[in-house]
């Protein structure tokens, strides 16, 4: 079966419906599926719930889907960089479910692994624990967190072969593998698609079993906080 599509819009064709749950990879603006986000904007699909660690910035990443009001709920750990997000949230137009970062990652990994729930110490005794089942293991309190089962995963990798085996680059890996795992269908965008056999099987970060559709494209890869040191300090 052919996994490679020509454009992001073609790769999403037939997969979208209003009210769906989408898991997106990325941390800040690093390793975000920017081409697929643009295609979601163009598709006009709405009332989306998006599980993503962050919500982009006003004019890039998930911020674009917020600007067009296509997202009705976010599941995130940190959303501080987006003024439009905050405006919609404070006015009640946008629902927000805060998840501790590790809990969010594990909820995706668990969902993708067929695990509907798991117990964690993260958040015990805090607002996050409210309404959640508590269980004692070896004298310590843990809370029940549920796996995320998304309708669609959108992720960004560095390289893929045409069977969907993925390699990520540096810290752009972040949420992409767990996000890819938890979707019924996963669409990945990469900087380069190479023929099968070009990647050493031992060097594959995410096996193609998790990846159903693929596109290759040019990425802006915007830097959120450009920090440098002066040469003379070396």
């Amino acid at each position: 079966m052919k996994k490679v599509f020509a454009t992001a819009s073609e790769a999403l064709d037939g997969l979208l419906h209003d009210g769906m749950l989408i898991a997106a990879g990325g941390f800040g603006l690093c390793g975000i599926p920017e081409l697929l986000i643009d295609a979601l904007v163009a598709s006009g699909v709405k009332d989306l719930t998006v599980a993503s660690n962050n919500a982009g910035v006003d004019d890039f990443g998930l911020g674009k889907l917020l600007a067009t009001r296509q997202i009705s709920k976010m599941m995130s750990s940190y959303v501080g960089e987006n003024a439009e997000f905050m405006r919609q949230y404070l006015s009640g137009e946008l629902e927000l479910e805060f998840n501790p970062q590790g809990t969010l990652a594990e909820r995706m990994r668990a969902g993708g692994s067929g695990i509907p729930g798991f117990y964690t110490q993260t958040g015990v005794g805090t607002q996050i624990a409210e309404g959640k089942e508590v269980k004692i293991f070896n004298g310590k309190e843990y809370i029940l967190e549920e796996g995320i089962f998304a309708d669609l995963s959108i992720v960004k990798a560095w390289k893929a072969d045409d069977t969907g085996n993925l390699i990520f680059r540096k810290t752009a890996r972040n949420f992409n593998p767990p996000a890819a795992m938890c979707g019924k269908v996963c669409v990945a965008e990469v900087e380069e698609i190479v023929p099968r056999g070009s990647i050493d099987p031992d060097h594959i970060h995410l096996p193609g079993i998790y990846v159903h559709r693929l596109i290759q494209g040019q990425h802006e890869k915007r830097i959120e906080q450009r920090t440098v040191r002066k040469r003379e300090e070396a």
């Binding site: 941390f27 390793g31 940190y78 970062q101 590790g102 964690t120 810290t171 450009r226 040191r229």
Partner: protein, 212 residues
């Protein structure tokens, strides 16, 4: 309230926190004063974790060498070391939750005498989220808070009970402030040392929490 107590500045607090780190440790440093701790580890072999998926962080790149695929948990561009490894967020928090990270050094808004920590939200103000802070304090072996002893109104940030929503309950082991070093014990806070020029009496007077 003793208004003009001197004590340690930000760099001295960071240097004091660096003394807590031992050769061979894997450590997570938070944003703010905790980030400065890296400047004071000296010859100790310390591996810094960035919870977005990296062990072995190095400082900022030279201008023109920034890589958009290489950032720290504060989203700043950074560089790698020969020892560096990369991994996904679920693995990263697996090592945090699994107790593999020996020490986390974090900033705080409030700490209680039972080691409760508040550093993620102020009700009524803009809430940006907890990021990885709740996972870190729940999972890391030893949690050290580095912060100013009092807020800008001169009120103690070391309290009997936190007033702000918690990041973790009973999670802090040691508190390093501009006035000294305090340990959380089951009876209350124990003074480990006073900062330069600060007396025990001054430290107690500036602290709302119970000191034993």
């Amino acid at each position: 309230m003793a208004g003009e107590i001197k004590g340690w500045d930000r760099n001295q607090m960071a240097a004091r926190a660096a003394q807590e780190l031992e050769d061979g440790m894997y450590v997570n440093l938070g944003i703010g004063i905790p980030t400065l701790v890296a400047n004071y580890v000296g010859d100790k072999d310390i591996t810094l974790q960035s919870e977005n998926g990296m062990l072995g962080m190095r400082p900022f790149p030279f201008e023109g060498e920034e890589d958009p695929d290489l950032i720290n948990a504060g989203k700043q561009t950074i560089t790698e070391l020969a020892r560096t490894s990369y991994f996904d967020s679920a693995t990263s928090f697996g090592m945090i939750r699994g107790g593999k990270i020996a020490v986390a050094v974090l900033g705080a808004m409030e700490v209680s005498e039972r080691g409760d920590l508040a550093n993620w939200m102020i009700p009524g103000k803009l809430v940006k989220g907890m990021g990885g802070a709740m996972d870190l304090v729940a999972g890391v072996g030893r949690v050290i808070v580095v912060m100013d002893h009092t807020n800008k109104h001169g009120e103690s940030k070391v309290l009997r009970d936190c007033t702000l929503p918690l990041t973790g309950k009973g999670v802090v082991d040691r508190i390093i402030t501009n006035l000294g070093v305090l340990d959380v014990t089951h009876k209350g806070l124990h003074i480990v040392e006073c900062a330069d020029g600060v007396t025990r009496e001054e430290l107690i007077a500036a602290t709302e929490a119970t000191i034993v």
